[in-house]
């Protein structure tokens, strides 16, 4: 079963909040270098599913593996895994009491034990990549949403992740700032980063993704190549068609 190209494997995962089943027998595989977009109505469990991948959301049933690490194994040191799985949040979650540079340096020195000088150098390199090097001394509160999100991407990249998870990275942004963040993500995809992206940006999904996973009520309803998802609509489930109609109407 274990394939050399598989980066993430989610096998029969279920999760409950009390009596409520948030994830219902979900299975999916993400290969190395693949970009997978997860979409679906709100409350369908897409963010929860993604957060199970780095163990932020524990699951009651099933198995999750990232590279050689079994996330669901209780003996797994989650901190080591998480440092290699980058995550970008809807609300950026930069550390407001630290300037941009220190936001990128903190985990490098505390988790990876990099010497300060090396961590700073790496931070500046990544800030340059997201075109934010001029802001290294600024505090997050002084940046626009788009700028903050680009810094947040750089912060994750500073840990040299093997996978990047994006949790609705553009949905808290003003419309004119969505493009700059998507641009950074596209560049990452082109460089071969393995990515799972929870988003409603169907333009991004069409242009960049390899596959689309559609979720509804905690279940994975569709998991297909993006062209099939968007172009062969008649082959899709009714719920997916319904969702696409609503979201692509405008």
């Amino acid at each position: 079963m274990k394939n050399g190209d598989d980066m993430i494997e989610i096998k029969n995962v279920s999760k409950w909040y009390g009596d409520f089943k948030v994830l219902d027998d979900c299975s999916a595989v993400v290969s190395k270098g693949e970009v997978v977009v997860v979409c679906g109505p709100s409350g369908s469990g897409k963010s929860t599913l993604m957060k199970t991948v780095n163990g932020l959301e524990p699951v009651q049933q099933g198995e999750i593996r990232v590279a050689d690490t079994v996330v669901t194994d209780r003996k797994t040191r989650l901190t080591a895994l998480r440092s290699r799985v980058g995550m970008v949040f809807q609300h950026f979650e930069l550390f407001p009491h630290l300037n941009v540079l220190d936001n990128l340096v903190l985990a490098q020195t505390k988790v990876l034990k990099r010497p300060l000088a090396e961590a700073r150098e790496r931070a500046m390199l990544l800030l340059r990549r997201v075109d934010m090097e001029a802001f290294s001394e600024k505090f997050p509160g002084n940046l626009s949403g788009g700028q903050q999100q680009r810094v947040a991407v750089a912060r994750s990249l500073a840990m040299d992740p093997m996978v990047m998870l994006f949790d609705e990275p553009t949905s808290a942004l003003d419309p004119e700032m969505v493009g700059e963040v998507l641009e950074v993500m596209m560049q990452l995809a082109r460089e071969g980063m393995t990515m799972i992206v929870v988003t409603h940006e169907m333009g991004f999904a069409r242009k960049v993704s390899n596959r689309v996973i559609f979720m509804d009520r905690g279940r994975i309803v569709e998991d297909c190549p993006k062209d099939d998802f968007f172009e062969r609509r008649d082959e899709r489930s009714e719920r997916a068609r319904d969702f696409l109609d609503k979201i692509l109407q405008h």
């Binding site: 957060k51 780095n54 932020l56 989650l78 901190t79 080591a80 895994l81 998480r82 440092s83 290699r84 799985v85 980058g86 995550m87 949040f89 609300h91 979650e93 930069l94 550390f95 407001p96 009491h97 300037n99 903190l106 985990a107 505390k110 988790v111 990876l112 600024k138 505090f139 997050p140 509160g141 002084n142 912060r155 994750s156 840990m159 998870l165």
Partner: protein, 229 residues
Amino acid sequence: MNYAFEWGTILRAWPYLMQGLQTTLLLLVVGVVLGIALGTVLAICRMFGPRPLAALTTGYVNLFRSIPLILTIFWFYIMMPGVMRVLTGDPNLTVGPIYAALAALVLAEAAYFCEIVRAGIGSVRSGQMQACLSLGLTRWQALTNVILPQAFRNMTPSLLNQTIALLKDTSLVYVISMNDFLGAAVRIGQRDGRVVEVFIFVAVVYFVVCSAGTWLAGWLQKRLNPGKA
């Protein structure tokens, strides 16, 4: 009303009053510093500790918050010598009222500070902890490097309010006959029959110290919040 003020009493008793003020400030500083330290530990136990520990902490906080401070001080004064004698095995051990007062203030204030710190930690968005964990930081690293620094900034006003309340509450040590600032002043006033002057003076001093504290907190908060205009 024809009252002839006579402020000479205060001047003559100045060294004695300053000694009292020293005691008050000692109670205040130790109460605040140790109270916040212990309160922070309690808050962390309550929010992140295993369930029995969290329950124990909750009980502690409820206990000390339900008992009037004056009673706590009284208790410690009466019971601490006995308890310490049992603990140390020294039947002749004496505990000065200052230590009883300090212990009572620190333990009681810790309960109040615990609630403030808890609210402060709660005021930090939950996404901050998730962001820390997703970078591979441990919970403890996240708390000390990211959550607590933000929490303490957010709770500066509440901490200051509690400190000012404590400054005034320290005067309750009069129940165990301590010479704090108010206690010293009352004695002088009664001795010289100049209670009015002494009470006006004491009120002015408390007012000035509290106002200075408020100003300091405002200044600190501005300094601590770079990037927020």
